[in-house]
């Protein structure tokens, strides 16, 4: 044993040396002089510098385009998200994906919008072991706010809310732009091909209220996508194929032997169907013949195709009546269209080894899905599963769809989830790239909260329903003595507008996922969130300018020359509300819930009423009723409100009238 002091000293010195050599190494690693820069590295560096430069230019161009150059309406919320997103990232670089929450404020005293990210960020930091007061984070965010065109000031409130006040001049400018350019969609990042599959009734069967929902919602969605600038294909996936056509054709041949030359007068296809069904069930011969007919139809024998077409045409005419009433645009592309493709689909699944035999059926199991898809029945026939697979494949590859939306009742939700999962499994689409969605909806209930039926218990025929709507709408108009004010032509127009508008609006204004109660009394009420109320409100706004004798040209000119003043609280509230239109549309685009648009229009109408009640647009002499003064900027606010409402109606498929 040596002297421990010497011992320790030696060890200490040894350690000192090691520390020194390690520090030296660290230093040398910190300043890597030896890393000789290869020409390739230089090239890459230069390329990188150029790319960064370009990125900067592109970002700036994008912003310019949004702010100045385009006629598009600006999505204020989105712009605020960008501005705050930048500030949030700058103030908290340690968080990879900091939450971004900017929402409009309902209470004026808290500003116009608010950013609530600070609290969530504090939580995230806490999870990382860093304790920061959310107020501090909020302060940092405010400090890091980039220069921007839209915020006037911000305040931090409560635990860390940031209240955002918009610049009045900015809002005013946006309103002027809106008036000059009209209601234009927000800028389109990329134009997409959108397929909307809706309505889809069955040939030889009656359309019912379920089809009504699909038709109304699908049409409105299509209109929304079109307004936003996308390329929309509306498809009517009618049920026009299957064994039932065998018996229909057999019956047709018996009843109208000369059907090839003389068009058979079938007015009630429903009855015709019943007759043939009866024979099918009762007559063995007929049944046999019906099967033969199926085979001959499937082998495309001309006479049979002709018979099939005749039957389909009868249904088509019926459907079209409904579509005409509701102003629906749609292309028929029924199950028959996919017949040939189904063989291909089965082959493809087979080749990829995704088919399994199950008691003579060929089925596809999709991981994570409880039920398999049956693509070939034990008799060798195909199913809805097969045709839906063929359809999705055709829509992805032939139609080059970026977005496919199926509007059917929620009961089919599970079925479509399996179809979508199978299509992804076989590699037809990547959900990151292609958006395929089932927009399901709840059932229509009667006022008794039970399934919607006639008094006699039958399903309600759609045409009957629409006709009743027309009748009730006329009753209402007469009740209000509008028939004494309007011309006959105007009256009819108003009748249709109100009747069909109310049916559609009643449907669209409810969250589509829920069941909804069908009630003519409620939908025709001119108080509350109904089409009747909105249509009245709209015509009233339109009449303000008319009654002040201001024509459209004057308004157009004023839009360019008159600043929209927003000093009054109600003016300010209305102005902001008008400009929320783009963010409402953006939200619907994300969740496909159209009732948000109805809620917004209702809010706009009530906000307008508040404005109109407290701000004179036209000042009249109390005695003579003569116009003394026109507050043009307020006329412009009326005009902007009306323009946005009109566009909203258009998307909902409602036809407003000038007078009602």
């Amino acid at each position: 044993m040596g002297d421990p002091v010497t011992d320790y000293t030696a060890r200490l010195q040894q350690q000192e040396r090691e520390i020194q050599s390690l520090s030296a190494e660290i230093e040398s690693l910190k300043n890597p002089q030896d890393l000789s820069s290869s020409p390739r590295l230089d090239e890459l560096r230069e390329e990188n510098a150029k790319l960064k430069y370009r990125l900067n230019i592109l970002k700036r161009s994008l912003q310019e385009e949004r702010t100045y150059c385009s006629k598009s309406m600006m999505n204020i919320n989105q712009r605020l998200q960008e501005v705050f997103g930048e500030a949030i990232r700058a103030s908290c670089p340690e968080l990879d994906n900091p939450p971004l929450a900017v929402t409009p404020n309902q209470q004026a005293k808290f500003g116009d919008y608010q950013c609530n990210s600070a609290m969530a960020m504090a939580q995230m930091l806490k999870a990382k072991g860093i304790k920061v007061n959310p107020r501090e984070i909020a302060e940092k965010i405010v400090q890091n706010l980039p220069d921007n065109e839209l915020t006037q000031k911000t305040e931090i409130a409560g635990p860390g809310f940031i209240n955002i006040h918009l610049k009045r001049s900015f809002v005013s400018k946006l309103l002027s732009n809106l008036l000059i350019n009209g209601v234009q969609p927000p800028p389109l990042a990329s134009k997409k091909r959108v397929v909307v599959d809706f309505s889809s009734p069955n040939i030889a069967k009656e359309m019912h209220v379920g089809h009504l929902r699909s038709t109304i919602i699908g049409e409105s969605m299509s209109r929304l996508f079109e307004f936003l600038g996308h390329d929309v294909l509306r498809l009517n996936h009618v049920g026009d194929w299957g064994t039932q056509f065998g018996m229909l054709i057999a019956h047709l041949q018996d009843k109208f032997p000369d059907y090839l030359t003389v068009s058979p007068p079938i007015s009630d296809l429903q009855a015709f169907y019943k007759e043939s069904k009866k024979r099918f069930d009762e007559e063995e011969d007929f049944k046999k013949r019906a099967y033969q007919c199926v085979v001959r139809l499937q082998s495309k024998e001309p006479d049979f195709i002709k018979a099939w077409n005749l039957i389909c045409d009868v249904s088509r005419r019926e459907f079209q009546k409904v579509y005409d009433c509701l102003d629906i645009q749609i292309i028929e592309r029924g199950e028959s269209f996919y017949q040939e493709m189904m063989t291909e689909v089965v082959k493809e699944f087979e080749e990829k080894g995704l088919l399994q035999l199950d008691e003579g059926r060929k089925v596809v199991f999709v991981p994570g899905q409880p039920i398999p898809l049956t693509v070939v029945k034990s008799d060798g026939g195909y199913t809805y599963d097969t045709s839906d697979l063929a359809a999705i494949r055709q829509r992805i590859f032939d139609e080059k769809a970026d977005v496919i939306i199926y509007v059917t009742d929620s009961g089919q939700g599970t079925h479509f989830q399996v179809v979508f999962a199978a299509a992804q499994m076989i590699g037809w689409y990547d959900p990151q790239v292609t958006r395929v969605e089932h927009a399901g909806f709840g059932v229509v209930l009667g006022e008794d909260k039970k399934k919607f039926k006639t008094r006699s218990g039958d399903t309600v025929r759609l045409m009957d329903l629409l006709e009743e709507g027309l009748k009730r709408s006329m009753d209402k108009l007469k009740e209000k003595e509008r028939d004494k004010v309007l011309s006959q032509e105007e009256l009819i127009k108003a009748q249709r507008s109100v009747a069909f508008g109310c049916i559609k609006y009643a449907d669209l204004s409810h969250n589509r996922i829920n069941d909804y109660v069908f009630s003519f009394d409620k939908m025709l009420d001119d108080r509350g969130n109904t089409a009747a109320y909105l249509l009245y409100a709209f015509t009233r706004i339109r009449s303000i300018a008319r009654l002040a004798n201001i024509d459209e040209a004057t308004l157009r000119k004023a839009a360019e020359t008159t600043e929209v003043i927003l000093d009054h609280d109600k003016e300010w509230k209305l102005g902001k509300c008008i400009l929320r239109f783009p963010e409402i549309l953006q939200k619907i685009l994300d969740d496909l819930l159209l009732h948000t648009l109805c809620d917004y229009l209702y809010e706009l109408a009530t906000t307008f009423t508040e404005f109109y009640d407290s701000c004179y647009c036209v000042e009249k002499d109390r005695q003579t009723g003569e116009v003394v003064k026109v507050n043009m900027w307020r006329m412009l606010l009326c005009e902007a409100t009306a323009a946005v409402m009109a566009k909203g109606f258009d998307i909902l498929g409602i036809n407003p009238v000038q007078r009602m």
Partner: protein, 760 residues
């Protein structure tokens, strides 16, 4: 063929002349048209020789073909009958390029219908002779008769010159009688003892550039220049231009800020700044900074320094980049007018001759507008799109590029732009924006003149006139930026301002005075032809200036110690040396003189040689300025037998026999470094592969730089500042190098005293 010949001879041309005319296609077709027009009026043989000659002269001198019919008509109708009228007519159409021609003004200007009677001529000549009678009688026929005719003619503008001459001759004869013997004697030439001519055989630059010396157009008369394109808007644009400039001459010196100026630029600077200065105009210094990749701050300041060093002050310093927004707006306008389109051909496809025409040439205007905006917004990668102008250049190049994409920040505009305009697009428009009257450039740009005019006219903006002058080339050097970089990189020269180079900074460092460079430019002249000049011409200009400006000093480059034995060891006197011996009034300085002095080794020889006039053991020599003559007493040698010191006797020069030569010397000197230069290249044209097959780098003169680290210089240079210049007696002109420190001065030899040094 034969028909044309007959046609031409029918108006009185000789057959030979007619044939010659036919060789010139343009002239031939013009003349044909004119003659045909004449014959329609006067019949196939009705065009007489006088009219024919007028037609011929008109056709050959007319620049603007659209006036041919009009002038031919005037001749045919005998409105224009004389050469004088024709000249006036041609002048008139030149100054009135726009339709319509005011017939009345035209006829007035050409003296149409003016009839001069013989009596009028007689009277006019009589009054002129009366005026000069006294002088005439004195000088008789030695009198300048031209003067009489000139005056008579100006009195009668449209009179026939011949008739006037006859009249003058007659009246003079009448006055003086026939010539006598004395009259026939040649008048003795008066010796012109004009100082100007003897001191400088060339006119000063300002004189060369002043007034009409250059045949340049007057401001606002752009259209009078040959080749200038007149459009329907030209006249109103010129008027606006004149209103703005007040008729002032405006030029610009437009260097690209991507390198150092060289001697060639000195000419451009002198020409542009000089022309403006000589004519009370203004000159801009405009940096042509459209290419972001090449620009560096140091070049900007260096260029301005050099301009100022040469003695010029820019009216304003501008940048092409100041106009980026305006240029962009003009480009959009150009597309709208259908004169430009966005093209996607790759750079490689357009290289070389016969590049395929662009398939995008005829794309719709709207499309180009959108795409051009997208270029600006960064939607294309570099090289994916360019904006091209729809025009063919003189050299056949199709559709030059106006804008290209570069994701590079710009020295002045930062990250604002990612499209940058080209020279072809920018240059003329910046000239136009600055209302330049004379856009002076070297001859290489002649090929771009038409694109210059085309672009201004395509946009309906004021169009300056481009004038070309010959580029200045020097032998025994290279000036291109790339080559100089090579020289610097390979260590042949120290830097851009190495005194062996001909960059302006190098010349300054070497000690060339700016006046000398300007004089040199004047000597080379402002001719249009390309001039290749040898450096010795420049050097001689340098000597001319330094002779009068660089004070004398004495320096010994290779010293030999000399001890004067018959002076006391501690004796020290000061000797007065005039700064300029030729003009002692310009001052003097004192240098010490002690018993130890140093002389050049070459000023002493142990063995006498015939013709050698300086110091030998047998031959004394005088010491400049000291008033002493020394004679060798003892030669001290080292072990190797080299002479290391001399011991001498001195005596006052008044008492001594006049020595054959005087040499320079120093005593108690400063030790300095001296750098001696020779030309950098061995061959006259180092870039010419036939002269130097292995490239200019193989042609370096190994002796181009000689450094003498311990030369001895007299104390008068103490405290000299950088670039101070001296004449070291018998050694050369020197300038203080910026490398000098307080402890050690460094001198560059600017030039030797005489063109060919090395005589013994």
């Amino acid at each position: 063929m034969a028909d044309t010949l007959t046609l031409f001879t029918s108006i009185g041309l000789s057959e030979q002349k007619a044939k010659e005319t036919m060789k010139n296609e343009a002239l031939s077709s013009a003349l044909k048209e004119a003659v045909t027009q004449a014959q329609r009026v006067h019949g196939a043989s009705g065009v007489d020789k006088a009219m024919g000659t007028l037609l011929y002269n008109m056709a050959s001198r007319l620049k603007d073909a659209k006036r041919l019919a009009f002038l031919a008509d005037s001749i045919v109708q005998r409105k224009i009958c004389t050469e004088l009228q024709l000249a006036a007519a041609l002048d008139f159409v030149k100054s009135h390029p726009q339709d319509p021609i005011n017939q009345k003004e035209f006829e007035e200007a050409c003296g149409v219908g003016v009839v001069i009677t013989p009596e009028q001529i007689e009277d006019a000549v009589e009054s002129v002779i009366k005026k000069h009678k006294e002088q005439l009688l004195k000088e008789r026929y030695h009198f300048n008769m031209g003067l009489l005719m000139g005056e008579a003619r100006s009195a009668l503008k449209w009179a026939d010159g011949k008739v006037i001459k006859n009249e003058v001759d007659m009246q003079v004869l009448h006055l003086l009688g026939p010539k006598t013997e004395a009259d026939l004697e040649k008048k003795p030439k008066v010796k012109v003892a004009d100082n100007k001519v003897s001191t400088g055989e060339v006119k000063s630059l300002m004189e060369q550039l002043r007034g009409e010396a250059l045949k340049f157009h007057k401001p606002g008369e752009n259209f009078k220049t040959e080749g200038y394109v007149v459009t329907p808007n030209t006249m109103s644009l010129l008027k606006k231009h004149l209103d703005l400039t007040g008729g002032q001459i405006r030029t610009r010196f437009p260097p690209e800020p991507n390198g150092i100026l060289h001697i060639g630029h000195a000419k451009a600077i002198n020409f542009n700044f000089g022309y403006a200065k000589a004519n009370n105009g203004i000159c801009f210094l405009r940096y042509d900074d459209t290419n972001p990749e090449k620009e560096e701050e140091k070049y900007f300041t260096a260029i301005k320094d050099m301009v100022e060093w040469l003695g010029y002050k820019p009216y304003a310093v501008t940048h092409a980049s100041d106009n980026f927004q305006q240029l962009y707006d003009l480009a959009v306008d150009l597309i709208r007018r259908g004169h430009a389109y966005v093209c996607h051909q790759r750079g490689e496809e357009l290289k070389g001759h016969n590049a395929p025409p662009s398939p995008w040439r005829d794309r719709p205007i709207e499309e180009s507008l959108v795409l051009f905006e997208r270029m600006k917004k960064g939607l294309f990668a570099e090289g994916e799109a360019t904006l091209r102008m729809k025009m063919v250049m003189e050299d056949g190049k199709m559709d030059p590029v106006a804008y290209r994409i570069k994701y590079t920040p710009h020295h002045r505009t930062g990250d604002e732009w990612c499209i940058y305009p080209t020279y072809d697009y920018t240059h003329c428009l910046c000239d136009s924006i600055e209302n330049i009257t004379h856009s002076l450039c070297t001859k290489e740009f002649q090929a771009r003149r038409s694109s210059y005019y085309w672009l201004c006219n395509a946009l309906d903006v004021y169009c300056p006139v481009q004038w070309e002058y010959g580029r200045l080339n020097l032998t025994y050097t290279v000036v291109s930026k790339r080559k100089i970089i090579k020289l610097v990189e390979t260590g042949v020269v120290r830097d851009w301002d190495d005194p062996r180079l001909f960059t302006l900074t190098a010349l300054r460092r070497r000690g060339f005075p700016p006046e000398a460079i300007n004089n040199f430019c004047a000597r080379v002249g402002v001719t249009v032809s390309q001039t290749t000049t040898e450096p010795h011409l420049l050097e001689s200009c340098v000597r001319d200036v330094l002779n009068d400006t660089a004070p004398r000093a004495m320096a010994v480059l290779e010293p030999l110690k000399v001890t004067i034995t018959n002076l006391p060891e501690d004796s020290q006197v000061y000797v007065r040396v005039p700064d300029f011996p030729a003009n002692e009034a310009k001052g003097s300085h004192m240098v010490p003189f002690t018993c130890t002095i140093f002389i050049e080794q070459s000023d002493f020889r142990e063995v006498m040689e015939k013709g050698y006039k300086r110091l030998t053991p047998e031959q004394p020599v005088g010491l400049r300025h000291a008033g002493y003559v020394i004679s060798v007493q003892k030669v001290i040698k080292d072990a190797q037998g080299n002479v290391v010191e001399l011991e001498v006797n001195c005596c006052r020069s008044e008492t001594a026999e006049k020595p054959k030569a005087f040499i320079h010397w120093v005593s108690k000197p400063l030790t300095c470094e001296v750098r001696l230069y020779e030309r950098l290249f061995l061959h006259k044209h180092p870039e010419d592969p036939s002269e130097v097959p292995n490239g200019f780098l193989s042609d370096i003169n190994p002796n181009s730089l000689q450094v003498i680290s311990s030369a001895l210089v007299d104390t008068s240079v103490k405290g000299a500042k950088v670039f101070d210049k001296f004449q070291f007696e018998r050694v050369g002109y020197f300038s203080l190098d910026p490398d000098s420190t307080a402890d050690k001065l460094i001198f560059n030899r600017t030039v030797t005293l005489k063109e060919d040094p090395g005589k013994i």
